[in-house]
């Protein structure tokens, strides 16, 4: 079944899960290891059909532990690799997410969030894995997560996720939700030559060069703290271990090596944050009231902000497209001029606490535990109240 088109250039009326799968294919993903789970199942279904058409591999794994382990292996062998899941599966992936961070293997993990915790609400939306996406695996580390607000954006962000993963040798999470995964909207897929592509940093010399001195898979360049990646099977004699390791990749049990390695893993994301962070601003220039939201909830926040602006209230919207790394500097700057901050999210305060940390004052939260998308009305009510109109 080879010879299918990897990039379905044109306009489609498509749900977010399918758009995510097409974004992966357009980005050059050729390996998917997964265990289907509602509400992400359509991603696996579509890739099971589409990957063989373009010479890729869809691997039905025995569970989510195996799913993420397999994409790390595929990545180490040079493939762009992805898995997709929802809350319960995301929890099972946490251990090997940390392995991916430690081995610095680029990969994309999609979490179409449903009502959590535990089995929760399989068919209904949630946004409760924001902190799990940041801190779910043990240890200090840097991570990247993007939160799409439409089927078009999950297509675009899946491509960006692969690019950021490759450029920074880090697992990247696409933190979607059931509303975005299942809603059907217009998705425009550009021509193949207009799909942005950032490459992995690769060894400077062919394998034969590294005869007397071993190639160092974990010696980072000074410029951006990212080491070049040699793929398994290319002849560079690479070694990967989850143990604390030296620059070649061999275990080295010392406090100095550990401190240096983990600090670099954190700083690699921290120092490159300006290149990774994405936000969208609406009416922020003169805003006294700032609404911050992301994912499906940002759609309601936008409606509320537009309605409040129409009523003359000086309110603006900061939509977080990247959740991690967090846009601390931008929010700190906004806090210089804006008085009131409102966070709308379908959890009980995960990003609100992050915003409070940045603005150093109480932040009003519009929260819901999940199962139903937050309506524009309670957000508009909070804006009116902040403007002294209630």
């Amino acid at each position: 079944m080879m010879g299918g088109k990897a990039v379905l250039t044109g306009q489609h009326f498509m749900n977010g899960d399918d758009a995510c799968a097409e974004g992966a294919l357009a980005a050059g993903c050729r390996y998917f290891g997964g265990y289907p789970i509602t509400p992400s199942t359509e991603i696996a279904e579509r890739l099971a059909r589409r990957l063989p058409e373009v010479g890729g591999v869809y691997m039905q794994m025995e569970d989510e532990l195996g799913s993420i382990a397999s994409i790390l292996g595929a990545s180490a062998a040079g493939a762009r690799a992805m898995t997709a899941t929802s809350g319960p599966g995301f929890s099972l992936m946490m251990e090997n997410l940390g392995l991916g961070v430690m081995l610095e293997l680029p990969c994309v993990i999609v979490n179409i969030q449903r009502g959590s915790p535990s089995t929760g609400l399989p068919t209904m939306a949630g946004q409760s894995e924001v902190m799990q996406a940041r801190w779910g695996s043990h240890g200090d580390y840097g991570i990247v997560a993007y939160a799409p607000s439409s089927p078009q954006e999950i297509f675009d962000l899946t491509i960006l996720a692969f690019n950021v993963a490759d450029r920074y040798r880090v697992p990247v999470i696409v933190l979607g939700d059931e509303v975005i995964g299942h809603m059907v909207e217009r998705v425009t897929i550009p021509p193949a030559d207009q799909i942005p592509r950032w490459e992995r940093k690769r060894p400077a010399h062919p394998p034969e060069f590294y005869v007397h001195e071993r190639f160092k898979s974990f010696r980072a360049d000074e410029d951006n703290l990212v080491p070049p990646l040699a793929h398994a099977g290319e002849g560079y004699r690479v070694h990967f271990t989850g143990l604390t390791h030296d620059e070649i990749g061999y275990p080295e049990m010392s406090a100095e090596t550990h401190h240096e390695l983990v600090t670099r893993l954190v700083n690699k994301i921290r120092h490159n944050a300006p290149d990774i962070i994405r936000t969208e601003s609406l009416y922020l220039d003169d805003a006294q009231i700032v609404v911050i939201s992301y994912g499906c909830t940002a759609r309601s926040a936008r409606r509320a902000v537009l309605d409040a602006r129409a009523a003359g209230i000086p309110v603006g919207l900061l939509r977080l497209i990247s959740i991690w790394p967090f846009p601390e500097t931008l929010i700190q700057e906004l806090a210089q001029t804006a008085e009131t901050f409102i966070v709308a999210e379908m959890n009980l305060g995960q990003i609100r606490l992050e915003v409070e940390r940045c603005v150093r004052r109480p932040v009003r939260g519009i929260h819901h535990a999940g199962g139903a998308m937050i309506h524009p009305e309670p957000i508009l009510d909070a804006i009116r109240e902040a403007a002294g109109l209630r």
Binding site: Q11, F13, V184
Partner: protein
């Protein structure tokens, strides 16, 4: 103002496909913004199921149908469940052999399932209803829906569905 459309029936009548075809026609061929959502979970497996469309000239923020301007009901259970959600003056389109409406509705009736059986396949009642929707509401043109059918359905079943669309369109006149 956005227009809200709810297509309802029992599981298996093809309301999801009808919603997808109609949304695609609005979104890709009529220059409008459109969002389709569906009920997932146990309620979508048999019983009264629905596909829901918001159509607008400006970007759509809140994607869910709350109070439909147009309600299509292909079963009594769907009519009973969803009629109260519709706006007071909403257009109601029913399969007249499967739904008995309450007296005061703005009701447009067509024997869609019966007409589908006449075409040889009961399963195209959903597309007959789409043709009827075009004729009654004037919200979208025949050509746009034909394009949606052409780009969505397999060639083997396309001609039958084109006939079904024409059947629904011509029934009103």
């Amino acid at each position: 103002m956005p227009t809200e459309i709810r297509l309802s029936g029992f599981g298996g009548q093809g309301m999801a496909l009808a919603g997808l075809l109609l949304g695609k026609a609005f979104s890709l061929y009529a220059g409008r913004e459109a969002v389709m959502t569906q009920a997932y979970g146990p309620e979508a497996r048999g019983g009264a199921s629905s596909a829901n469309l918001v159509v607008s000239d400006t970007p759509i923020d809140y994607p869910f149908v709350e109070h439909p301007d147009v309600l299509i009901a292909m079963s009594q259970e769907a009519y009973t469940k969803f009629r109260p959600t519709a706006k007071p003056g909403a257009l109601i389109l029913i399969d007249e052999e499967l739904v008995t409406p309450n007296g005061d509705d703005n009701v447009w009736a067509i024997p869609a399932t019966h007409l589908a059986e006449d075409l040889g396949r009961r399963i195209v009642a959903n597309v007959i209803m789409l043709g009827f929707f075009v004729a009654v509401t004037g919200l979208i043109g025949r050509e746009e829906l034909e394009k949606a059918l052409e780009t969505t359905l397999r060639p083997k079943i396309l001609q039958l569905n084109m006939r079904a669309l024409a059947t629904g369109l011509e029934y009103k006149s």
